[in-house]
Structures are given as C-alpha cells and as structure tokens.
C-alpha cells in the first residue's frame, strides 16, 4: 500500500497520506500499543509478585530441588524413599505419568478400535450396544468416572483374605489387582534382546523386499515373515535359555499377598477410567475414518485383482489412517492431560507430586510452572510428530 501511495504521488497531485490513514503505519502503532499493554500488565504482575514473595519470605528459584523431600510416594518405578531429594520425587512423578499414559494409550487404541468397528457392525445388537457405550461414556465427566471406579475398589472389593479369584493366579482385592508373573530368569533378557534384533531384521527385510519388488515386480510376503521373525526369535531365545516356566504366584501371608505383581487400586481405577472414557472418543474417530472411504474405492481395488488383505493394506488403511491419525493423536494427548486427575484419587502422578511439593515448600510459581512446562513439552512433541506425519501422508494434489 505504501508503494502505491508513492507511485500515485508521482503521477497525480501530491496528496500526502496522513499516518493514521496509512495501514502500514497504523499496524505498527497498533502493535506497539498492544505490546506496551501486555508488557505493562506483565510488569505489574511481576512487581506485585515480587512484593508478595518478599512479604511472605519465600525464596524463588529451584534451590529446593536438592533438598530432602521427606514425603513418601505410594508407588514408584524407581527406588525412592522419603530421604531422597525433591528432584527425585518429581522424577518419580514424571515416570508415573508416563507409565499410566503409555499403558493407557495402548489399551485405549485397542479398545476404541474394537468399539468403533462394532459400531459399524451389521449385527444390530452389537452396533446398538457400541452406540450406547459411546454416548454414555462421552457424556459423563471423566473425573466422576474415576471416582466411581475408585469407590468400587474400596467399597465392594473384599480384603485380601476373601480375595476374588476370577482366574487362576489373579486376585482382586481392595488392596489392588494382584497377579502371577513369570519368575525372574536370565532367559527373559535374551528374549528382549532377540525381539530387538527381530525388529531390526524386519526393518531391513521390508526395505529389501520393497527394492526387489521395484526392480523385478515380484512381491515378497513381508507381513507373514515379519510376524514369524518377531515371534520366532524370542521363542528361540526362550528355548535356548532353558525354557523357564516357573511362575511367581502371589500367596496370602498374614493380611496381604506376597509375590506376584500388584497394581494399586489407584492405578487400576485411573487406568480404567481414562481408558473407558477415551476409548469412546477413539471409537468415534475410527468409525469416521472407516466411513470416510467410499465403497467405490474398495470395489475398484477388488476389480484390479487385489486380494482382500491387499485391499485392506494398500487401499483402505492408508486412506483411513490419514483421517484417523490426527484426531487420534489429539485424543492420546487428552488422555495424558486427563491423567493429571490422578491427584483426585491419590495416584502419585507428576501433578500430584508437584502439588505436594508446592504445599511443603510454598514454591507455587515454580511448581505450577513446572507442571505447565512438562505438559507443554508432551504436547509440543506430539504436535511436532503430527506435523511430520501430515507432511508425509498429505495428499499430493495436482
């Protein structure tokens, strides 16, 4: 616009535009004003905070990290005691959050996919039930669902002495879910290593198969061979390691079970609530993704002579996933954010530990700041992944 202005002065009569009618200059003024207001607001809050902190004699900074936390944490994936530092307590919180989110996301995707497919089933009963599930779960606050599942654990489930035993080796009590696990054995390490080797082999195999198909046109049954490698290598390692079969079965000693693996009632309630709630949203996403593919696509693929498996892998999935993945990642993010509700039922996730830290040290700003930074980090990395994925799968249009 400014250029046009100068041009017109050369051609026609010199009419100098006053600066308040010049959009460029006006834009600069607006922005300066907005920045000034935001800056002043920030400065005002900052000085108030400084004065308040001084008055309450709270030292700012992260010096409390190295102090002794002196509170216990109910469950922790790494060794932790009250004598450890706040930094370690917070690390335990982060790990607990990651644990519940990771397991929750996997279970949610599986359950949500099942329900989404069931919603589209030709079986009237199954489709209706799936529809009812989706509607009911979406319309009840997740916090209420958490309280509901948690209340079942302490009101209905019996004490360890009268533990419910639905399957051999699994016990349901008000102390949590206790089940048998294979006893520790060196063969398990070999199995994990074998699985990693299998992953690398599958990756190499699929590259080789793609290259060969591009060169000679001969397809290679990558999927079946991959499954065989991924299952076969660990089994082979297990056999070579002496095929250990011994299970660590929980036994009732005194008032509680010994041995096996115990999942606390808080963890189970949190996981159950998050998974059942989020799966309803995932089911809707999966349904929409499948419905987004027109029938013609499937018919065209079949008329080209592709087998049903190939139709699914080469035609349906690539298109459905393009529709499904973006909202699915945002649901995964929602699940991670909703896992902060753990604080309400006493599962020591990051927010819960940070909250205890705030209450003990009075470092409110640092505490809330840490919570925000940690979750921002999670969500920014999710959206970075999303952008990368979108770029990779975006439709290349003419």
């Amino acid at each position: 616009m400014a250029q046009e202005g100068t041009n017109s002065t050369e051609i026609t009569t010199p009419a100098k535009i006053p600066f308040w009618h010049d959009p460029t200059k006006r834009a600069i003024i607006y922005q300066v004003v907005v920045l000034l207001i935001v800056g002043m607001l920030g400065y005002y809050l900052f000085t108030n905070t400084q004065a308040n902190l001084k008055r309450q004699a709270i030292a700012t900074g992260f010096g409390f990290f190295s102090k002794e936390a002196s509170f216990e944490i109910g469950e922790s994936p790494i060794p932790y005691s009250a004598a450890d530092t706040y930094a370690r307590a917070l690390l335990v919180g982060v790990l607990n959050t990651l644990k519940v989110s990771f397991i929750g996301i996997i279970l949610t995707v599986i359950l949500g996919t099942f329900i989404g497919i069931a919603r589209l089933s030709t079986n009237w009963l199954v489709a209706k039930l799936a529809g009812i599930y989706i509607e009911v779960m979406q319309d009840i606050p997740v916090l209420l669902q958490l309280f509901f599942w948690y209340s079942i654990s302490y009101e209905i489930l019996p004490s360890p002495r009268q533990a419910l035993n639905p399957f051999a080796g699994v016990f349901l009590t008000n102390r949590g879910l206790i089940f048998a696990v294979p006893e520790a054995h060196p063969a398990h390490v070999y199995m994990a290593l074998a699985f990693l080797v299998g992953c690398v082999a599958v990756w190499a195999l699929s590259r080789w198969a793609k290259k060969r198909q591009a060169k000679t046109g001969q397809p290679f049954p990558v999927f079946l061979v991959s499954i065989a490698i991924l299952l076969g290598l660990p089994v082979a390692a297990w056999l070579l390691g002496g095929a250990p079969l011994k299970m660590d079965v929980p036994v009732l000693r005194g008032f509680n079970f010994q041995g096996g693996l115990t999942l606390s009632p808080e963890f189970v309630a949190l996981l159950l609530g998050l998974v059942l709630y989020t799966a309803a949203f995932v089911a809707e996403i999966v349904r929409a993704g499948i419905q987004a593919i027109s029938r013609g696509q499937v018919e065209a693929a079949m008329s080209m002579g592709l087998k049903p498996g190939q139709v699914l892998r080469l035609v349906i999935l690539p298109q459905a996933l393009r529709v499904i993945i973006p909202p699915l990642t945002s649901q995964m993010m929602n699940l991670t954010k909703n896992s902060t509700l753990a604080v309400a039922i006493g599962f020591p996730d990051f927010v819960s530990v940070a909250n205890t830290t705030i209450n003990q040290t009075g470092q409110a700003i640092e505490g809330v700041g840490m919570i925000m930074v940690v979750y921002l980090f999670f969500s920014l990395s999710t959206s970075a992944f999303m952008n990368w994925y979108n770029k990779r799968t975006a439709l290349v249009e003419r």
């Binding site: 030709t122 509607e135 009840i140 916090l143 927010v351």
Partner: protein
C-alpha cells in the same frame, strides 16, 4: 391381452415368511452369517448375566426412602442416599429457606436454553433476554436487593455452581475467543504471535494446572490487601482455558469463509471492523455453532475439576454426603445419580448439536 397378462403377473407370490417381518429382520440383522450368529448369542448371554442382576439390584431390592442402616439391611441399591440428601446434593450450603432462589435461577436458565435452541427465536431480542436473564440469575444467587437477603458467594454450591461456572465461563470466554481467533488470523506479526503463543500454551496444558494457578498463584499476582474469592478465581481460570478452545473453533469458521467474501467486503469500502462485524463473523459463527455446543459440553463436564481445588460443585457436595458416617458405603448409587444429571445435560446438548448440524448443512 397385454393388460390381462399384466394383471396376471400382479398376483405375485409373497416373499417367503423367513424374509419379512420379525423373522426376516432377525435374520438380516442378528443372524446374517455364522460369525454374526455367534456374536449375537455371546452378547445375549452376557446381557442375560448382567441386566437381570442389575435390575434386581437397582429396582427390586432397592430402598428409596429409608435410613442408611435400613439400606444396609435391605441389600439392594440404596437410593435413599439421594432422596434423603437431595437438597444438599443439588444446592449445597445455600441457606435452606432460600433454596428456591437458585431453583428459580436454574429454571430461568433452562427456559433461556430452550428458547435459544429454537432457530426461530434467533433475534436480537434473545440476546437482550440472555443479558436480563444472566443479571436476574446473578441477583437471585447474590441477593442484597429487592428484599432478598444477601448470600455469601462461599455458600454457592452444588448444581447451581456447576451451571454458573460453565455457562458464565462460556459466555465470558466467547468474546475473548473471537478476539484471539481474529488476532491469530491477523497480518500484524506481534499480535499474531502473541495470540498463537497464548492459544497453543493453554491448549497444551491440562485444565488442572490452570486451576492450581488460580488457587495458588493468583493471590501472589494481586497487590497486597486485595483478595478475590475462590469461585471467581476458578471462574477466571475456566474462562482463560475455554477461550483458547473457542478461538480454535472460530478460526475454523473464519477459514471456511471463501476469499471472495473478504474481497467483496473490502471492495465495498468497508473497513476492518465493518467487514468482520457485518460480513465475515455472522457467517463464520453460524458455521461453528455445532462445535461451540461441543465446547459447552466439555465446559460443563470440566467444571467438575474444581473439586480438586476444593470448590463445592455438584460432585463435591455428593462426596461430602458420602463422607457422612450414616451414608458411608453408598458411593455407587450417589455417583450414578449425578452421572444421570451430567448425562441428561450432555446428551440433550449433543443431540441438539447433531440435529442443528443436519439442518444447517441442508440449508447450505
């Protein structure tokens, strides 16, 4: 001849009895293949195991108007916890003899929502009705005028608090969200980046962190001697949170408006505010009504999080009923009751939003 052959043909055989009526429907929808038949039978088996037991617990063996001790003896569901404590669960600590006031306020709200759901009433007068209604509701809760006794806002609790936080939250967040969306679409880099940072930060953090901020950090932000009460602080957090989500929804609407509309408005000589107010926003906001209802639903559900910072909303009043020794052990009944309240609210809103979506698409 031709006619007669046609009339001969008109007497057609009926389809086989197994293809029509109840049997036909069952075959088509429940037993169309071996897999479907197995699925149906397995599902029916599970329903047979669950539904009668639930009905027995919830209705046949249940007690509706007894004491907690009598409930324990009866064994079934104890709906008495709801019937005996209904007024506390719904109205919380609001003075007992004045509880008609929040009741009237809620009725006004429902009438306004009902009116707004009908597109025939979408006129300016509805806006004024809302302003008047919100003012009236505030007055009924707060009191202090027209002979109504004044009620401390710390006494506001239960369902009215839940509705207040979500409806006021959305109403106040809406203009802020529109401003943020316009800012994000702006060509001025400073304003654009400020809006992006705000929206993405808020959407990246959980609501609970904002609520913590409101309860532990807001007091530090204010100058000495000034305090604002818990409810207002939580309300501010909910508004700041909801605004970011509204901004993204409105942005979707702005992007859906064709470039031609912007250019046509500019070529008519309208300035930025006229262009937005008269041409773009009316169209954009109409498109985004269904997702906005979605945000209202989430706001309604999310207000339950204020439990964590100790406000007595519907969920918290229920929990404090449950902590009464006389009623201990009936969490499931109480939670089912408030789940029904939440479900009724969310389900009516979401089915309304779906219906509206269909109508709007048909209109386009």
């Amino acid at each position: 001849m031709v006619d007669s052959s046609q009339s001969m043909q008109a007497e057609q055989l009926k389809p086989p009895i197994t293809r029509i009526g109840v049997i036909g429907w069952l075959r088509a929808n429940l037993f169309s293949s071996v897999f479907n038949s197995v699925l149906t039978i397995v599902t029916l088996y599970f329903l047979w195991k669950i539904v009668p037991a639930f009905v027995r617990w919830a209705f046949i063996d249940s007690s509706w108007d007894t004491t907690g001790a009598a409930c324990r003896a009866a064994g079934g569901a104890c709906w008495s916890i709801v019937t005996k404590n209904l007024r506390f669960i719904i109205f919380g600590f609001f003075p007992y003899e004045s509880q008609w006031r929040p009741l009237v306020a809620m009725i006004i709200l429902f009438i306004l929502l009902l009116l707004s759901s009908n597109r025939r009433f979408w006129k300016k007068s509805l806006g004024y009705a809302w302003l008047l209604g919100l003012f009236g509701m505030g007055l009924l809760l707060k009191g202090g005028l027209f002979g109504l006794s004044s009620v401390e806002s710390t006494k506001w609790s239960g369902l009215p608090l839940t509705l207040l936080l979500s409806v006021f939250g959305l109403t106040a967040a809406y203009p802020l969200g529109i401003a943020l969306a316009l800012g994000r679409q702006s060509r001025m880099p400073a304003i654009k980046s400020l809006c992006i940072v705000y929206i993405e930060t808020i959407r990246g953090v959980p609501l609970i962190s904002l609520l913590f901020m409101s309860s532990v950090m807001f007091p530090l932000f204010l100058p000495e001697g000034i305090t604002i009460n818990n409810i207002l602080r939580a309300q501010v957090a909910i508004i700041l949170f909801t605004a970011a989500y509204i901004a993204e929804v409105v942005r979707g609407g702005l992007q859906a408006i064709g470039r031609g509309q912007y250019e046509a408005a500019e070529s008519m000589g309208l300035n930025y505010y006229q262009k937005m107010r008269l041409i773009i926003l009316p169209q954009a906001l109409k498109i985004v009504i269904p997702p906005t209802v979605g945000i209202l639903i989430s706001a309604f559900k999310d207000t339950s999080l204020v439990v964590i910072i100790g406000l007595y909303d519907l969920l918290k009043t229920t929990q404090s009923t449950l902590s009464d020794p006389r009623w201990m052990g009936f969490s499931i009944e109480a939670y089912i009751f408030i789940a029904l309240i939440y479900f009724a609210g969310c389900f009516s809103m979401s089915s309304y939003s779906r219906r509206l979506e269909r109508e709007l698409y048909r209109g386009n």
